[in-house]
Every structure is written in C-alpha cells, then in structure tokens.
C-alpha cells in the first residue's frame, strides 16, 4: 500500500494499487457483462462511482450508531436505497442508456466492491476520508469499465465512442468507425474474460517491471 495519508496516494491506491476490479477482482458480474461498448462502461462506471461514494459517506457518518451485529442489514439498506434512487434518476434522465444497461443498474446493489468498502473502510474512518476513498475506488472501477468497453468496442465493432448520445443527449452520435465490422469474439462473454485477463496481466507486468527497476526482488 502506498502512503495512506496523502490525497494523491489514496487516489493512486484506488486507481492502481488496490483497484477494485483490477486487483481485488470485485464486482466482476457487471464489469464483464456491460463492457461491450465504451458508453455502457462509462454509464455503469459513473453510476457505481456515485453509489460507492455516497454509501461510503453515509456509512461513515452513521458509524457511531452502527453496531456490529446489525451492520450488514444497515449497509444493505443504505446501498439498496441509494441504488433505487439512482435507478429512478437514470430512468428519468437517461432512458436510452437505462434500456441499454438494463438489469445491471439495479444489480449495483450486489456489487461486492461497495459492501467491501463500507465494511473495510467507511465504518472505521472519518467522513472526509471515506468520501475520498469512495471517489478513488469508484473512479478506479469506472476507469476499468471504460477501458474494457473501449477495447471491446474497438476490437468487436471497429468503432470508438459510438452512441455517446445515450449519456449526453442530443442526436445519435455514431462515434468513429475505424474498421468495417470487427472480431465478434470480443463482444461475446469470453471476450470480456480475455480483456479483463489481459488488463490484469498488463498491470502486473508493469508493476513487476517497476519493482525490478527499483531494485526490489519479488519474494514469491
């Protein structure tokens, strides 16, 4: 773990060293299922970021009253309410994106990355600290969703940033069509596993190279 106390250190932690998707491998169900395009990944990533940050803040703010024997039902209540609100807001504000993400918005409730942060971090730290943790961890997760969506869309459809209008409104935006058609496997479920596996391997390779450059030896 990098420097726990600096803001930058905490952000680096969430985005890289302890990225919920890339390192802790939490929340894989939505991560694998919706990342067939960039805009889907971005939409679900933002929704997860908001829920994670707000649940961290709420859990942290109420941590004095949360007794250990009722903490799980409390987390579930808080997270489920937040997700329901987010779902309603999505349906009202971004109906097309809501149709495209479908069941995965309500399923944010079951994203174990959120309960994990509530249990491990927010229930023991100050509100400000938990807010930062939510932003860092949620941001790391969202960034991974976007990256996987970007790669799978590029390889599978041959396009980049297609249908961003689902999120920002306005006319249909078809993005950049770089290739005609694409490699279908990338869009199918196995493509999600390949993409995630390559991302994890890439991250580990970069870490290892850095460690070697710094003169450390891997203990394992």
């Amino acid at each position: 773990m990098s420097d726990q106390n600096s803001i930058a250190g905490r952000l680096v932690d969430g985005f890289w060293h302890h990225n919920p998707g890339l390192v802790q491998l939490l929340g894989l169900c939505p991560l694998l299922a919706v990342t067939s395009t960039f805009v889907n990944g971005l939409g679900l990533g933002l929704a997860t970021l908001v829920v994670l940050t707000m649940s961290n803040v709420l859990v942290s703010a109420t941590r004095r009253w949360i007794r250990s024997e009722i903490r799980i039902p409390m987390y579930v209540l808080i997270i489920a309410s937040l997700v329901t609100c987010i779902e309603l807001i999505f349906k009202a504000g971004f109906p097309a994106l809501d149709r495209s993400l479908g069941i995965f918005i309500p399923l944010i409730v079951t994203n174990c990355a959120i309960v994990a942060r509530a249990e491990v971090f927010a229930s023991r730290n100050s509100v400000a600290s938990s807010l930062l943790d939510g932003l860092a961890m949620g941001g790391g997760f969202a960034l991974l969703l976007c990256a996987l969506g970007f790669v799978r869309e590029l390889v599978g459809h041959g396009s980049v940033f297609a249908r961003l209008d689902l999120l920002i409104g306005g006319d249909v935006l078809n993005g950049l069509q770089l290739l005609d058609g694409g490699f279908l496997l990338a869009l199918l479920p196995p493509g999600a596993f390949f993409a995630l596996g390559l991302a994890v391997a890439g991250k580990n390779a970069i870490d290892q190279r850095r460690r070697e450059a710094a003169g450390f030896r891997l203990s394992i």
Binding site: A92, P95, G156
Partner: protein
C-alpha cells in the same frame, strides 16, 4: 432492543428517501416511456399521416389469437380523421435462436407492411443481433412487402427456397422473423374489420 430501534429508524429514513425520489421522477419516467413507445410506433409507419392518440388506441388481443406468440398481443389502431389507415402489432416470435423476439410490425390498411422493428431480443451479438435497426439494415427489407409481394409461396428466406434475404449465419433468427411477419399479415387479412371496429374498452391497455 436498541439495535432494533436503530435499524427501524434507518429503514424509515431510507424508505422516505426512495419515496421522495420516486415522486420526483415519476412523471418524467412515465413521459419517457410514453415518448419511447410513440417514437417507435411512428417510426414503423413510414410517414403515413395520422392524427389519433396511438397509445389510447391500443387493443389487447388475448390468447389464443392466431398471431405469433403465446402471450396477449397488442394492436394500435392508426386513424386519420377517424378513417383507419394502418395497424401496429406488438407480437412475440417465440422461435428465435436464443429466446423470444418481441417485434413491432406496422401494416397499412391495404395489407402492405410499413415497417418492422425488433423491440426486445437476446440474439447473438454480431450475428442474430443484426436484426436491430441500428446494427444493420436487414429489418428494413420488410417495408413494402405484403401477402402478394413476394408471392405467398415465396414468403420464406432464400435458404428455404423463398425470396427474402436472410442474415448470414442467422437463418434461425431470420426464419423466426419472416414467419412472424407472414403470420401477422395473414391475421390482419382475416381480421382487419374486427380490429378496427373492436371497442377500446374490450382491451385493457394496462396489461
């Protein structure tokens, strides 16, 4: 005891929050759903002009009905100055490759298809999913077809000896849609007058 009180308080607060959000978004959500429906409905009409309230014209056709699908079908009656000009069918083709395919089929008063759209389906991405209008033009080929064009005997995909193009690698999906459109055309031919004379309260649009 105290734990129970805390839990109950938090539950009450959370429920209030959800209820408030629901109240704030309810109208927007209903309007969005209505807009989406009307947008899809008007798009399959290929520019036929009409001036009735489509959602109020819905007629539920209960099973068994002779239309594709094992669920109740919905028919929207399209009128222009009270004269029938077209009908829009929301039906389900049950024999898709990976589950049912919900289709919206527009048929004008003379029995020609004005357009077909896939509303919901789970077909294979990149193969059967090309039935989506924003993924390929395949679904547009139905506009202008009728029971006489192509000939009744040629109402099948080319692979089965018919005259309708199939999606490469997705014969099952293509066949399911061709059959569903054909069956809907036959139903319209046999029941056209009943559809337009049926009273609106004989159906229940809430279903």
């Amino acid at each position: 005891m105290q734990s129970g009180l805390i839990l109950a308080t938090v539950a009450a607060i959370c429920t209030t929050l959800v209820a408030l959000t629901f109240n704030m978004t309810r109208d927007r959500i209903a309007a969005n759903e209505q807009a989406f429906l009307e947008q899809s409905l008007a798009r399959v009409l290929s520019g036929i002009s009409f001036n009735n309230d489509l959602s109020a014209s819905a007629l539920v056709v209960r099973v068994p009905h002779g239309l594709p699908g094992r669920e109740n079908a919905i028919v929207y009656r399209v009128l222009n100055d009270s004269a029938p000009v077209a009908a829009l069918f929301v039906i389900t083709a049950t024999d898709g490759f990976t589950g049912p395919i919900k289709l919206l089929i527009g048929i004008d008063y003379d029995g020609a298809v004005t357009g077909v759209r896939a509303l919901e389906h789970k077909e294979t991405p990149g193969i059967g999913a090309l039935i989506d209008e924003n993924r390929s033009d395949w679904i547009y080929q139905f506009a202008g077809t009728s029971l006489n064009a192509p000939e009744r005997s040629a109402w099948a995909i080319r692979r089965d000896g018919g005259e309708i193009d199939q999606l490469t690698g997705a014969s099952v999906t293509s066949r399911a849609i061709v059959n569903a459109v054909n069956q809907t055309l036959l139903y319209f031919e046999a029941n056209r007058d009943d559809i337009f004379t049926a009273r609106e309260d004989s159906g229940n649009a809430d279903e």
